[in-house]
Symmetry: C2
Subunit: 400 residues, 2 copies
C-alpha cells in the first residue's frame, strides 16, 4: 500500500509539472514566430490567414555561413519536440534515437529546426488556438490546411530565421509528404531531402481509414460540432476510438503477433465478458487513452484531411516527375518491408518520378517487421543509411 | 420530377413491406425451432440456457435417406436468408450466387439448411431477443457465446430435423470457423467440410480491429451500457463507425484503388471541408448507415467476441491436428490471395493440421484482388472448385 501511495504521489507531482495541452496551443513551451496581418499566410483553400504563429524548437548552432540548417518535419500526431522532453507528456523527444550529439543527425554539426505544423495543437495556429478576431478558439472556423500550406508556413519561418537554403529536410509519413512538397515548391532552398515511409499521394485505403477516425470523433456528442472548447468538453471517447483504429495501421500483423499474439492480460482464462481479456486489447485501449490527453480532436480532423488531400502529381498535370523538374536536390528515399500504410510501391513511385526528372536519388527498402512506425524506432539499418547519405551530402556542401 | 415522385412512392411501399429488425429478433420471418428448459443449451461460459430458439431457412428437399442435407454457416453479419429475399432489407439472399437450382450448391439435389447463429439478431436467441424470465430484451445479460456454442445449437437443430449426418457443412469467415468446429466436435456427422477464407484462430490484428469496433459501439451514449432497447434508443453512430472500419478489412487496397482511387464524389474539386469529398468516403458512410438499419449493436459485440475467442488448437492442448484426429471427413479449404483478414497462411495452417491428422484435404488459393469478401462474390474459380469437390463427394456418398 505504501508503494502504491508513493507511486501515486510521484505521479501527481509529475502531473502538476506537465503543461496543459490547451495552454500549449496558444502559449507554447517553445520558440514562437508570430506574423501580423502584413505577413498573412496565403492558403490553398483561398483564405489568407492574417495574424498567425508557428511554434518551433531548435537544436545545435547555426554556422556563420548559415549553411548547416536541417528542417525536421513531423508526422500526423508528432510535434516540434523532436529531440527534447515533451512539455505535455514529460516523455523524451519523438526522434531522439536519430537526433542529438553524435547521432546520425548530429546536433554538434547541424542546426536542427522542427516546427509544429500549421493546423497542429502545440503552438502553431490551428483549430485549438485562439482566433485573433474573437479571442476564442478557432474550432472549425480555422481554414482547412493542406500539406503545401504547412510548407509555406515553414518557409516563412525559415525566412524569419534568416536562412536562405536548408542543408536538408527530413521526415517520415506526413513528415515525408512535407519533404516532397518542400523539394517541389522550393527546390533551390533544399540541398538534400529525405522522405521516409511516405507517398506522393494518399491511397484510397488510407483515406478510408482516416474517414473512419473522423467519423468516430464527430459521432461523439462531446465534439459539439467542433465547438467543444467553448463548452469545456472534449470528445475523448471518439478521439480514443480513432486513435485505436489508426494505431493498428502503424504496426504490422507480424509485430502484433510477436508482441501480443493471443496472450491474455493479467488473467489465466477468458472472462466471457467485454473486458480487455487479450493483451492486444489492453494495449490499444492504453494507446487511445494516452493520446487524448495530449492531442486536440479538431487538429486530428484537420491533419488527417491534409494527408487525404495530398496528391503532388495532381498539382502538376497528373505527372509526378514534373513536380521535380530540373531539381538539383539530392534525395534519399526509404521504405520498410512491413509498412502497409505507405508500402514500398509508394516509395518506388517517388523514385521513378525522380529518375524521370533526372534528379539524384538513393533508394533503400529496409527489412523490418515493425510496420509503418519503424521509421520512428531504433532501426540500425535506417540510421546507417541516413548517416551515410547525410555525411556524403555534407562533404559536397562543404560542411566539416 | 414525376419519375422522382414515382421512385419515392415505390420506396415508401417497399419500406412498409420490410420487417422491423427488432420484431425479427423474436418473431422471425423464418422457420423456428424452440427448445424448452428440458432441452437447455450447455454453453462454454458455464451457463445452461433454458428456453431458447434457433431460426432457420431451408431450400430444396430432404431425400428419403436423409443423406443430402447441407448446412450453410453464415459470417459475422450474415443471417439465415442465404438464398431467398431478406425480410429486413428486401435484398436477395447473401449467397444466391452459389446456392439455388442448378448452381454449384444445387438445391435440386441438396437440402440446404441455414440457421441464424446463437447470439445473432434475426430470430435465434441472442442479446436482442427477449429473456423468457423477464419478457424484456436480454441485452448484456445474455451469456457470452462461443463458436462451439453456435455449433452445439446447430447440432440440436439438426437433431430436431431428424438428420443424423450432414452431407456437407460450408461457410466462410466466421462461417468457416463453425465448419471447422463442426468437423472437430461431430466428425461422424460431417461427410464433407468446406471452410473458406477462415482460420483456426483469430489473429492479434483481427482481435485488435474487433476491439476498436466494440469500443466505437460502447462509446456511443445511446448504447446505455447495453440497455438501449429498454430505453428505445440505438447506438447507431457508434455501430456505423464500427462497420465502416470493419468494412475496410473486408476489401483490399487493390480493390479500393480500382473501384474508387482518389475520385471525387459528385463534385469537380475538393471542398476544403469534412464533407465526403472522395467516393471512398461516401461509400463507407453508406455502408455504415445501411448496416445499422439491419443489425443489432449488442449482437455485433457478441459475435465479434465469439470470433476473438476462437482458437481450435487451444481446446486440444495447443495442437491443431488433434482437433481432427481420426477424422473421416473430406475437406476442401480455400483462401484468396488478397484476403488480409484471413490470409492464405491461416488456411495453410489448417491444411497442415489436417495432413498431420491424416484427413483427406484439398486446398486451393484463389487469385482475386477483392479481399476477404471475395468468398461472397461471383468468383468463377471458387464455384468451379466447389462444384468439383461437391460433385465428387456426392458420388462417394451415393447421391445421384
Amino acid at each position: 500500500m505504501t508503494a502504491a501511495t508513493n507511486t501515486t504521489g510521484r505521479e501527481n507531482a509529475k502531473a502538476q509539472a506537465l503543461r496543459d495541452p490547451l495552454r500549449e496551443a496558444n502559449e507554447p513551451t517553445s520558440l514562437v514566430a508570430r506574423f501580423g496581418p502584413e505577413r498573412g499566410l496565403v492558403m490553398d483553400c483561398g483564405v489568407t490567414l492574417a495574424g498567425w504563429q508557428i511554434a518551433y524548437q531548435t537544436y545545435g548552432t547555426l554556422n556563420a555561413a548559415r549553411s548547416n540548417a536541417v528542417l525536421v518535419c513531423h508526422a500526423l500526431t508528432g510535434d516540434q519536440h523532436v529531440a527534447s522532453t515533451n512539455p505535455v507528456t514529460g516523455k523524451a523527444g519523438w526522434w531522439e534515437v536519430l537526433i542529438g550529439p553524435g547521432k546520425p543527425l548530429d546536433t554538434d554539426r547541424f542546426f536542427v529546426i522542427c516546427s509544429n505544423v500549421l493546423g497542429g495543437c502545440l503552438g502553431s495556429s490551428g483549430p485549438a488556438s485562439n482566433n485573433p478576431a474573437t479571442g476564442r478558439p478557432w474550432g472549425l472556423d480555422f481554414p482547412l490546411v493542406t500539406i503545401r500550406d504547412m510548407v509555406r508556413a515553414q518557409a516563412m519561418l525559415i525566412d524569419h530565421l534568416g536562412i536562405e537554403s536548408l542543408f536538408a529536410v527530413i521526415g517520415g509519413s506526413m513528415g515525408g509528404m512535407q519533404v516532397l512538397q518542400w523539394a517541389s515548391s522550393y527546390p533551390e532552398r533544399v540541398f538534400a531531402a529525405m522522405p521516409l515511409a511516405t507517398g506522393a499521394r494518399h491511397s484510397a485505403q488510407n483515406i478510408a481509414f482516416h474517414e473512419v477516425g473522423r467519423q468516430a470523433v464527430m459521432a461523439d456528442p462531446d465534439w459539439r460540432e467542433g465547438r467543444y472548447l467553448d463548452a469545456d468538453t472534449r470528445p475523448s471517447k471518439g478521439l480514443s476510438v480513432a486513435r485505436m483504429g489508426a494505431h493498428i495501421t502503424y504496426l504490422s500483423e507480424a509485430a502484433l503477433h510477436r508482441k501480443f499474439g493471443r496472450n491474455l492480460q493479467d488473467r489465466d482464462s477468458r472472462t466471457f465478458s467485454f473486458d480487455a481479456d487479450f493483451q492486444v486489447e489492453s494495449y490499444l485501449r492504453h494507446q487511445g487513452l494516452s493520446f487524448v490527453e495530449r492531442f486536440d480532436a479538431n487538429s486530428y480532423l484537420y491533419l488527417t484531411r491534409a494527408m487525404d488531400y495530398f496528391d503532388l502529381a495532381a498539382d502538376h498535370g497528373g505527372v509526378l516527375a514534373r513536380a521535380f523538374a530540373g531539381s538539383k536536390t539530392r534525395f534519399c528515399v526509404a521504405s520498410f518491408t512491413s509498412d502497409w500504410l505507405f508500402p514500398t510501391s509508394d516509395s518506388r513511385a517517388i523514385v521513378h518520378a525522380l529518375n524521370a526528372s533526372g534528379a539524384s536519388v538513393s533508394f533503400v527498402e529496409l527489412e523490418s517487421d515493425k510496420g509503418h512506425d519503424a521509421f520512428l524506432l531504433d532501426e540500425p539499418e535506417l540510421f546507417a543509411t541516413l548517416r551515410g547519405f547525410i555525411g556524403a551530402a555534407a562533404r559536397v556542401r562543404g560542411l566539416a
